[in-house]
């Protein structure tokens, strides 16, 4: 589903954020991405979303080599991927429902399909009764779950999350991890960037670890983390 070959990213200021990455993620796989602050976790997710372009290497996402696709094709690429952001990135000038419906509105879904899918997504994250509220009135955990509903409303094949449990208590974190697990069960590839070692130890998912932009660990081993 995602395949990286010799991918490097050097920022304009000369900073080598990612160096020669090689790995593959299968459909339905759930993977942790970890590493110290500044290791390059967010950069990797940004490359997958084409928020940033790789400086070198090939990236296959959903069967398409995205390293050099034209700017005009980026929106359609992004519609295939759901992304959960650390900072919710919600719009406070509209309801929870409208926030979750945004990707469908942009992709041109009919109002009927939109309603069905938005309610299904809100039901999944347990916020069906809050659809008409403004997200500003929700708690941090609820806002995070609205963000997740928006990321999955389009039924993407790939779901990526940057510190999704960053400011949540362990109980809420567990709930959200369960949600991700459910998506992986139905075939979605899930990649979660986190430096929450406790969280990583609680699950036995595959683990990718970055150190100064290099992939230093790829497997199920949790020793010396």
């Amino acid at each position: 589903m995602i395949s990286l070959q010799k991918v490097s990213k050097r920022y304009d200021n000369g900073r080598e954020a990612l160096v020669n990455l090689n790995f593959e993620l299968a459909p339905g796989e759930m993977v942790f991405l970890t590493g110290h602050s500044g290791a390059g976790k967010s950069t990797l997710l940004k490359l997958i979303m084409l928020i940033e372009r790789p400086s070198a290497g090939q990236m296959l996402v959903c069967g398409q080599n995205i390293a050099h696709i034209p700017r005009s094709a980026i929106p359609y690429h992004r519609r295939q991927i759901g992304m959960v952001h650390q900072h919710h990135h919600l719009l406070f000038d509209r309801t929870v429902y409208d926030n979750v419906a945004l990707p469908l509105l942009i992709a041109g879904f009919s109002p009927r399909d939109t309603g069905r899918r938005v309610r299904a997504a809100l039901d999944k994250v347990g916020l069906l009764d809050k659809e008409n509220l403004n997200p500003a009135t929700l708690s941090g955990g609820e806002q995070q779950r609205v963000g997740i509903a928006r990321a999955v409303v389009n039924k993407p094949q790939v779901l990526i999350a940057d510190e999704p449990t960053g400011n949540l208590d362990p109980e809420l974190s567990a709930e959200i991890m369960d949600l991700f697990d459910q998506f992986a069960q139905v075939g979605t590839t899930v990649l979660i960037a986190t430096h929450d070692v406790g969280l990583i130890h609680r699950y036995d998912h595959r683990l990718l670890a970055l150190h100064n932009g290099e992939l230093i660990r790829d497997g199920y081993d949790r020793e010396h983390l």
Binding site: K46, M49, I51, E52, S72, P75, Y76, R78, R79, M83, H85, H89, L90, L91, D93, L102, P103, L105, I106, A107, G108, F109, S110, P111, R150
Partner: protein, 324 residues
């Protein structure tokens, strides 16, 4: 809507339904965006009104001047007919031929009357008026041509000019001259005025463009977060651009409608005094408005300027707003 075409291999019926639905979505989306951008303008009534007024005044100024010039033009078309055409006859034309021509011309429908001035009479008049009789005496021969003065039957300058051109072609006529200088001067001034209105329109049109560019730029700045978010969930450039283009369209439309109202108000305000003057001169003159054509042109032009301003602002600033 902006999705690439799906692979349809199941025949034309399937494709037609798909495109039909796609078109419906696209139309609905445009309607929603148009309504939403209008709602946003109404949500900030004071700044919106101020921008609209700036646009309206910039449009009303040249359009109002245009109306005034048009009215002066109509007024000058009804000049009191004191223009005349002087036909200077060739030296070969005899006195009898000249008189005959004068009588013949007086019969024409476009001529009110004619007056024949023989060479001798012309000399007499010249002597009297200039006091140069002695010098002319010494020339021996009378250098002055015979003249037929033609008074046109119609009042307009155009018809007088046509008459002049027509008479100039006659073999007996050496030169034909239209004496309607004040009307010609007025027409020249009006032509100049039209040019000035054009220049003013271009200048103020540019000002309207800049006002809209700047207003839309602020709008883009205010919605920066939203733009980043919609781009993250797969919005195309066209999608991001659309609400701002509609905002530009509304500004153009609203500004031009207010401008037309301002001009109408000006005309109403002037109508009383103008009627009073017209009555004094026993004239039937009445102030004319902008007219349907020019009014529509103002609206369409203004809407186009609004769209162009929005497009420029969007082109300049939207690309710079990217997630990351």
């Amino acid at each position: 809507m902006n999705q690439p075409a799906p692979n349809v291999s199941k025949g034309a019926t399937v494709a037609r339904v798909t495109w039909r639905q796609r078109f419906d979505r696209w139309r609905e989306h445009h309607r929603d965006v148009a309504v939403d951008s209008l709602r946003r303008l109404r949500a900030t009534p004071l700044p919106t009104l101020m921008t609209l007024l700036v646009i309206a005044i910039a449009l009303a100024l040249p359009a109002g001047l245009f109306v005034l010039i048009k009215n002066v033009q109509t007024l000058s078309e009804g000049w009191d007919g004191n223009a005349q055409v002087s036909l200077y006859l060739t030296a070969k034309t005899s006195d009898a031929q000249g008189r005959a021509l004068a009588t013949q011309l007086a019969e024409r429908v476009d001529v009110k009357r004619t007056a024949y001035i023989s060479r001798e009479r012309a000399l007499e008049e010249f002597k009297e008026q200039s006091g140069l009789g002695d010098i002319l005496q010494e020339l021996g021969e009378n250098p002055l041509p015979a003249v037929i003065v033609v008074y046109p039957a119609h009042d307009t300058l155009e018809q007088a000019q046509k008459l002049r051109d027509d008479l100039a072609r006659k073999t007996e006529v050496d030169e034909a001259q239209l004496d309607a200088q004040w009307v010609q001067r007025l027409y020249a001034l009006l032509a100049l005025g039209e040019r000035l209105v054009l220049a003013l329109s271009i200048g103020l049109g540019l000002a309207v463009l800049l006002v809209i560019v700047n207003t839309i730029r602020l709008g883009i700045e205010n919605r920066r977060d939203e733009i980043v978010i919609v781009k993250l969930v797969g919005a195309t450039d066209a999608y991001v651009r659309r609400p701002f283009l509609y905002t530009g369209l509304w500004y153009g439309l609203g500004g031009s409608l207010i401008a037309l109202l301002l001009i109408q108000a000006l005309l109403l305000w002037l109508d009383g005094p103008v009627q009073a003057v017209a009555d004094l001169y026993r004239s039937t003159f009445a102030l004319a408005g902008l007219g349907l054509g020019t009014g529509l042109l103002t609206i369409v032009g203004s809407v186009l300027v609004g769209l162009l301003g929005a497009a420029l602002a969007v082109r300049q600033h939207l690309r710079a707003i990217e997630p990351g």
